[in-house]
């Protein structure tokens, strides 16, 4: 038996496979298909201080090997989450992690503070990288000063494991990563979606109500892999990799590039059982290559 356990600071994962925010609902949406407690961690929908309706329809366009979305953080707000959704999640035997977003630093801080007191939420993922909201979101993730400031302010109030999710829409990801590490983040996750656009030539109109949206899926994998590799070399804290992971081989590539764990997003839409297949595939890979623990492949990329 190989050891699949990984630690992200004080966050203990039974295996390195988590689900990416916004692609797995609150987990329950998938419980007809798989035993969701087998997943290493479930990162729930982007949550904000107040309820958000998100952007108008149309919000999604399939593109070559991927999709553009412009959901815009539709959610019922942190208080609704605590009162109505959290109680349904407390008996799920895995890590439930809340993805936190905001338009102002104050909103991030207040939302994070409320999550301190939930016993079954061992970590939050600070989303400073949403490309689909007018204010805040990605703005915090594209400047070192702004990223440092928001993470610093949240760090002061949030006691548990603080993961910060970075945007790929920057020139030098390692600088942002270092700014976030300096501010006291426990881990970094990346990448969020890549800002993109689609046009319908027949109607001469944009495909999304917001014109631009976030690209996800296999189309962004090479970009994501490069950014995870750059980030893992730049910081000492653990890195969680994502972007276009469709199968175990993809997940393993991210780990070889330096990710201690991975998140699976868009792939869940096509195969709701994909997370379990990836966990089993990683185990199989470790056996085949004679590794006894998954941690042995983290950053184990060899040179040509």
């Amino acid at each position: 038996m190989v050891d699949l356990k990984v630690d992200i600071g004080k966050l203990h994962l039974k295996n390195p496979v988590m689900t990416a925010s916004g692609t797995f609902g609150y987990g329950m949406e998938y419980s007809d298909f798989i035993d969701i407690s087998r997943i290493g961690g479930i990162i729930v929908k982007g949550t904000t201080l107040r309820k958000r309706e998100g952007n108008p329809y149309p919000r999604m366009k399939e593109t070559a090997s991927g999709m553009l979305n412009a959901v815009g953080l539709q959610n019922k707000g942190i208080d609704y989450f605590i009162e109505h959704i959290y109680p349904q999640l407390t008996n799920v035997d895995t890590n439930i992690i809340v993805n936190v977003s905001g338009s102002t630093i104050d909103e991030y801080v207040k939302t994070a503070e409320k999550l301190n007191y939930l016993e079954k939420i061992p970590a939050i993922e600070l989303n400073i990288s949403c490309p689909n909201v007018k204010e805040g979101g990605m703005l915090f993730g594209t400047s070192c000063t702004a990223a440092n400031e928001v993470v610093d302010k949240v760090r002061r109030v949030y006691k548990n494991v603080l993961i910060v999710k970075l945007s790929p829409n920057v020139t030098d990801i390692s600088e942002i990563a270092k700014a976030v590490e300096d501010a006291g983040a426990d881990a970094i996750s990346l990448i969020n979606t890549v800002l993109g656009m689609a046009i319908d030539a027949e109607t001469r109109k944009p495909c999304l109500s917001t014109v631009t949206g976030g690209l996800s899926g296999p189309a962004i994998k090479p970009l994501a892999l490069r950014m995870v590799w750059e980030t893992a070399r730049a910081v000492k804290i653990p890195v969680i990799g994502m972007g276009g992971i469709m199968n175990a081989a993809d997940a393993i590539e991210f780990m070889l590039a330096g990710a201690s764990a991975v998140e699976v997003g868009t792939a869940n839409f096509i195969d709701p059982t994909v997370t379990i297949k990836i966990i089993e595939g990683i185990e199989d890979y470790l056996c085949r290559h004679g590794f006894s623990s998954v941690s042995e492949i983290v950053g184990a990329l060899e040179t040509l």
Binding site: Y30, G54, R59, E62, Q74, P272
Partner: protein
């Protein structure tokens, strides 16, 4: 209702016209209970252009033969691939998804099912269910021209069929809402599926005449199971997912 991921076997691929194919699937294990108005999420293949699953209304369920029918209108790469599938092939689907049409209360209610384009798909199954439950549905079907009218013989098994075509090649000339039936008769319930402008016109008629009306929306979907929030529509209860709160909505709830 528990959702399943099933591999169905394509038994027949019948080309009804240059744009529409009827695909008849069967399954080794018995199909789960499927309600009228529900849909399935079909996996096409792993090619770059047909990456996400595609939602299709259930066109008909033949319980006796354990068959599921899908009516495929070729509109893009996914539907084209599906229309080219050969009998014997296995096709992966998530089902059953979404809510369903609401049954009328009284057996003598006057019921009209209005469909246009590929929107007629769920109305065949719904009509068959109504008939089986001793209701008397009637159908009004609109198409561009005679060549685009499909499954008429099937519809006729469950009730009287009225037709409009835009060029007048069959039935009355014009759009469905131009049909004389709306001037001559009153209905207690109208159910509709088809292009949005058509459903809006049918809905407007229903509201004006204070008639119960349900429509089935065909929004673009990412997941089909309520996880991605891509398929929303605006209702009196806020912005909701069509794949879980719908696809069937009472017209009074929609903010059209």
């Amino acid at each position: 209702m528990k959702k399943l991921i099933l591999d169905l076997i394509l038994k027949k691929n019948i080309r009804l016209n240059e744009q529409v194919h009827l695909l008849i699937f069967s399954s080794e294990q018995s199909l789960p209970k499927i309600l009228p108005g529900q849909f399935v999420q079909v996996k096409i293949d792993d090619s770059p252009a047909t990456f996400l699953r595609r939602p299709f209304s259930v066109n008909f369920v033949d319980g006796e033969n354990n068959e599921l029918w899908l009516l495929i209108q070729i509109v893009g790469a996914g539907t084209l691939k599906l229309s080219e599938t050969s009998p014997g092939a296995s096709v992966n689907m998530i089902l059953p998804l979404g809510n369903s049409f609401t049954f009328p209360d009284k057996k003598d209610e006057k019921i009209l099912l209005v469909g246009g384009g590929s929107g007629i798909a769920p109305l065949l199954f719904w009509g068959s269910c109504l008939r089986k439950a001793d209701f008397n549905p009637e159908f009004l079907i609109g198409a561009r021209s005679r060549a685009y009218l499909v499954e008429l013989k099937e519809f006729e098994k469950y009730g009287k069929v009225f037709i409009t075509t835009e060029d007048g090649s069959e039935g009355e000339k014009g759009f469905v809402t131009d049909h004389s039936i709306f001037k001559e008769r009153k209905f207690d319930r109208i159910y509709s599926c088809g292009p949005t402008p058509m459903m809006k016109a049918v809905g407007a008629y229903a509201i004006k005449n204070n008639t119960f009306c349900e429509v089935s929306l065909e929004n673009t979907m990412g997941c089909g199971i309520g996880a991605c929030l891509c398929c929303v529509t605006d209702t009196t209860a806020g912005r909701v997912c069509v794949c879980t709160e719908g696809t069937v909505f009472n017209i009074a709830k929609l903010k059209w």
